[in-house]
Assembly symmetry: C2
Homo-oligomer: 80 residues x 2
Amino acid sequence: MRYTVVITIELKEGMLDPEARAIRHALANLMFPTEDLTTARLVRIKLDAPDAVAAREEAARMCELLLANPIIHDYTIEVE
Amino acid sequence: MRYTVVITIELKEGMLDPEARAIRHALANLMFPTEDLTTARLVRIKLDAPDAVAAREEAARMCELLLANPIIHDYTIEVE
């Protein structure tokens, strides 16, 4: 069966996020004060798997092998 | 009141996405065949607004002025 997995990869708490800092400064210059701002990458993958559990496991292996760096990233997986 | 807005910015349908293509090829080399793969950027912002509607409108203005390029990007906003 075909599943869509949505993988969100973000920096671990406390990691420097220069992109977020730059966006926050630019927003402040445009008169949009923000309390906090974080960025993440999202990867949406359509794949074939026997069931939703297998689809999630396959996405987790993709994260471990390629998509995320376990030293600096946390990731979450949603199966649709 | 403080709201968290989650903005997802992705390329419009049909736009070339070289990052997605590179990830898909790398996954195929790791024996993960995928049917389709798209990427997006996610920006999570904490901001003060009088209500959820105002928070969403502020996020939409941020997208129009800075975060998204309306020629190539679509964006969605969730208010939490």
